[in-house]
């Protein structure tokens, strides 16, 4: 899969949308919460990533019931969810290998 591995901002955005559809501000806050304050996205970075994800069909626009001008929500598409699962599997494998090697060396 030539689109993996994902950059951390993209991964966090996808994880945020995996839980539920969200608009931009909600994604920003959820990413900050998931990373324990370590990752704080700017609006430029966020919408650059959202635009690329939209064009690649990994996310789509979602019309909320109480949507107003300037608060557009997004959600994962099946393709986006599939790629996120692939990335999660890759990271899980990597973490398992890392734990085994660290334990082997007694670190």
């Amino acid at each position: 899969m030539d689109v993996l591995p994902l950059t951390e901002p993209v991964l966090l955005i996808l994880l945020s949308l995996a839980e539920q559809p969200r608009h931009g501000y909600s994604i920003l806050k959820d990413v900050e919460e998931m990373s324990d304050g370590r990752v704080t996205l700017s609006t430029g970075t966020l919408y650059g990533a959202l635009r690329r994800l939209l064009e690649d069909g990994w996310i789509e626009r979602y019309e909320e019931e109480d949507s107003s001008r300037g608060r557009q929500a997004y959600r994962l598409t099946p393709a986006g969810r599939r790629n996120l699962q692939l990335e999660a599997s890759r990271l899980k494998h990597l973490a398992r290998v890392a734990n085994l090697r660290v334990a082997r060396k007694g670190l």
Binding site: V3, L4, P5, L6, T7, V10, H23, G24, Y25, L28, T40, L41, S42, T43, G44, T45, L46, Y47, G48, L50, R51, R52, E55, D56, R69, G70, R71, Q72
Partner: protein, 177 residues
Amino acid sequence: MLSLYRCLLYLYPAPYRYEYGDEMAGVFRDVLSETRGKGLLPRAAFFLREFTGLLHAALEEHSRTIAGSNLLFPSSSRRFTMRSEFRFPKATPVLMTIILAGVILTIEKATAIRESLPLAYPQQLPPIHPGRLTFFPAMAVILLLAYAAAVIGCAVLFALRRSGVHRLSEMPAAPRK
């Protein structure tokens, strides 16, 4: 501050600004209201992050609009790249320069051989002849012409991409009756 942010959104390409400008301004307004009441350092960090992020992203979008890929910041899109149907070859001006340098050297060599045999070839050179040019001024002229051609080519591609002609291939075919 929101007005300043809206002005900075004009750094983006117009289609991007039209599609995402209102959303981005809305999110900025929400985050800005959250920073009110916080100290000077958190607010300064917020403004620095927002404006540098906006500048960086605007440059990325312009780079992507012109060349279909992130030429300015390739590492930021290295692991999440979009497939581009056309990319202007970055090595073209360099390759053109090398090829033309070879042509110039060949002409220089041919001129030197001809001048070593003055009786065999009559001297009928025009006032300005490529063989009369010395190597380095000729290289400078060729280099300038090559880069001018590359700039013109990029400008043409930029104009074409802005016109949206590259999206014609993505349009669905008309249904048959």
